[in-house]
Amino acid sequence: MRHFLSTYGTALAGLAIVIFFAVATPAFATPGNLSIILKETSFLAILALGFALALMTAELDLSIAEVASLAAVITGALVHAGQPVWIAVAAGLGAGLLCGVANGLAVTSLRVPSLIATLGTAAVAKGLAFMITQGVAFVGRWPTGFTGLARGSLLGVPNLVWWLVGVAATIFVFVNWTRAGSHLVATGEAEEAARLAGIRTARMKRLGLGLSGLLAGGTAVLLAASVSSAAPNMAGDHFLYAIAAVLLGMTMFTPGKPNVIGTLVAAFTLKALGNGLILLGAAYYVQDIVLGLIIVGSVALSAAAMRRAAFVKKLSFRT
C-alpha cells in the first residue's frame, strides 16, 4: 500500500483535481475544454520533456524558456519575411539545438556547472531575441502551411496533440528501450560508475542538454504557429511550469527519477489546474501561489523518496 501510494499518490491527486473541477464547474469536462487543456499541455509537456532529458543526465537546463523565445523569434522573422515554412521551422529547431549544444559544451568541455552555463545561455538568447526584434513582436497573417502545424487537426484530433504523442512516444522509447537512452539515464544515476563501465558520460550530457535545446526549439515553433506571432519573451511564463511538470512528474511512477509518463501526467495536471481555476473564476494570483506550492511540495515528496532510498541503502551496507 505504501509502495502504491508513493508510486501513484500524486498521479491520483492529479486525478482528484480533475474530478474536482469536473464536478465544480460544468464547463470543465466538455470536449471543447478538454481539447484546450490537451493543446496547452502539448506546449508545456514538450518543453518539460527537454528539461527532463537534461535532468536525467543530472544537469539543469535553466535556459529553456529563453531559448524557446529566441527560436520562436527566429522562426517568426523568417515566416514574416516570406521564407518557405520548412526553412523557418528548420531554423527554429536549429537555433534551439545550437543553444542546447552550446550548453552541453560549456558543461562538459569548459566544466562550467550547468546551473551557471544555462543561465548564461539564457541571457545570451534573451539578448539575441531582443536584438532580432528590437522588442517588437512579429505579427501577421502567416501562411496556413505554418499556422496549420499547431492549429490544424488530423482525424479529428488536433495537430498539437499528435505532436505531443509523437514526441513523447519517441522520447519514451529512446529513454527506456535504446542503448543510448539507458546510457543517458546511467550517466545521471551514477556518473562515475557509468564512465568506468565505458559509457561516454560527457557525450551523454551533451546529448541531454542538446535535446533539451532542440525540444525548446520545437515548442517555440508550435507556440509561434499557434498564436501566429513571435515575441522575445513569449515562452517566459512556461519556465516555472515546465520545471514544475518535471518535478511533479518525479513524484510518480518511478519516484525520485525524472520520467516521461510522470512528466506528461504532471503537465496535464498543471494545465488542468490553471484551466479549472479560470473556469471557477479564481483570482489570477491564486494560480501562482498554487504553482509555487506544487513545486516545493513535489520536490519535498521526491526528496522523501530519495531519502527513503538512501535510508534503505544505509541499512544494508555500502555499495
Partner: protein, 317 residues
C-alpha cells in the same frame, strides 16, 4: 460511489464559493490585465474591477503576465466558461485574433482598453497617443524656449511609448533649435529601473552642463531619472523633466519642490476602467445600441497635461 461523488460535489461547491466573491446569477465579468506587473495595466484592471463590484457584478481578474501564449490560453478557456463579458486591459487584438473571433462566435462581448481595434470586439477605449506625445513634446520644448540639448529615455517594446517617441521625433524635426544630445532605449523589462539608471547616468556624465531638458517615455522612467538628478543636487526647473502617464506618485513629485519632475500628461487609467464598465452596462446589461456609447471603433478619453499650476486638482483624487 454515488455518495462519494455527492460529497465531492459538495466540497467542490464549497471551495468554489470560497474562491468566488459573489453568488451566481450576477453579471459575470472577467477582466484580463495583459501584464499586471505593469502599473498602468493594473490601474485599469483594478479600477474596472472596483466599478463592476459596485454594480454588484461578479468579477474575476486574470493576468496574462505579458505573454501572448498565456493570453491566448486564457481567452480560449474563457470561451468555454462563457462569462457575460470580457474586458481586456492593454491586450494584443491583432495577435489574439483567432481567440477574439471564437469569443465573438460564442456570443461573448469583448471590450478593450488601450489595446487597439479588432473586428471581433465592441470597441477600444483609448487616449490618443499621438496627441499625448505631441502635448508632452511641445511642453518640454516650450520650457526650453525651443533652444538647447535634450536627453531622451525611450522604450520601444510598447506601442504607446513607441508612438510617443515617434511623435517627439516629428516635433524635433520641425524645431531644429533643440538637439538630442543622447538617447537611451530601455531594453530590459524585468530590471528596467537599473537599465534606465545606468543608461541615463552615463548620458548625464557625458553631457554634463550641456543638457537643458529630459524627456522620458513613461513616468516610471522619469521617477528613476528624478531620483538621480535630486542626488546630483539639480533643482526643480533647472533641467525640465517631462514624461507621460500620470498617477499619485507623479502628482506628488510634481508638487514637491525638491523633485525635478516638471510635468506629465495624465492618462486617465482609472477613468478608462470605469468607463469600460459603464459601457458594458449600457450595451450588454441595458441592451442599448453600441452607437449610443461611441460610433467608431474607439472611445477616446482626454489626457490632461499636469504641471505645478494644476497639480493640486489631481492630488485630491
Amino acid at each position: 460511489m454515488k455518495k462519494m461523488l455527492a460529497s465531492l460535489a459538495l466540497g467542490a461547491n464549497f471551495v468554489a464559493a470560497a474562491l468566488l466573491p459573489t453568488a451566481a446569477h450576477a453579471f459575470d465579468l472577467v477582466v484580463i490585465g495583459f501584464q499586471m506587473s505593469s502599473e498602468t495595466h493594473a490601474r485599469v484592471a483594478n479600477a474596472a474591477s472596483a466599478a463592476a463590484k459596485q454594480k454588484g457584478w461578479n468579477v474575476s481578474v486574470l493576468n496574462s503576465e505579458g505573454s501572448l501564449p498565456k493570453h491566448a490560453e486564457q481567452l480560449d478557456t474563457l470561451v468555454q466558461r462563457k462569462p457575460d463579458a470580457i474586458l481586456i486591459a492593454m491586450g494584443k487584438p491583432v495577435e489574439a485574433e483567432a481567440q477574439l473571433k471564437s469569443a465573438k462566435d460564442a456570443g461573448i462581448p469583448v471590450l478593450t482598453v488601450m489595446a487597439g481595434t479588432s473586428a471581433h470586439t465592441l470597441f477600444d477605449i483609448q487616449v490618443n497617443e499621438y496627441k499625448v506625445g505631441a502635448e508632452a513634446a511641445l511642453y518640454l520644448l516650450g520650457q526650453m524656449n525651443y533652444q538647447g540639448n535634450i536627453l531622451t529615455q525611450r522604450f520601444d517594446g510598447n506601442v504607446g511609448t513607441r508612438i510617443r517617441g515617434k511623435v517627439l521625433d516629428a516635433v524635433l524635426s520641425e524645431n531644429t533649435g533643440v538637439k538630442v544630445a543622447g538617447t537611451h532605449t530601455m531594453a530590459r523589462t524585468q530590471s528596467w529601473r537599473d537599465d534606465v539608471r545606468n543608461g541615463m547616468q552615463a548620458l548625464l556624465l557625458k553631457n554634463q552642463g550641456q543638457v537643458q531638458g529630459i524627456w522620458a517615455s513613461f513616468d516610471g522612467q522619469a521617477y528613476v531619472i528624478d531620483d538621480m538628478l535630486k542626488a546630483q543636487g539639480v533643482k526643480k526647473g533647472e533641467i525640465p523633466l517631462v514624461s507621460i502617464d500620470g498617477g499619485v506618485d507623479t502628482y506628488r513629485r510634481i508638487a514637491d519642490p525638491e523633485s525635478t519632475l516638471t510635468a506629465t500628461v495624465a492618462i486617465p487609467f482609472e477613468e478608462m476602467g470605469k468607463q469600460a464598465v459603464e459601457a458594458l452596462d449600457t450595451i450588454v446589461v441595458k441592451k442599448q445600441p453600441k452607437d449610443s456609447v461611441t460610433a467608431g471603433p474607439y472611445l477616446f478619453l482626454d489626457a490632461v497635461l499636469v504641471d505645478s499650476r494644476n497639480v493640486k486638482q489631481f492630488m485630491g483624487n
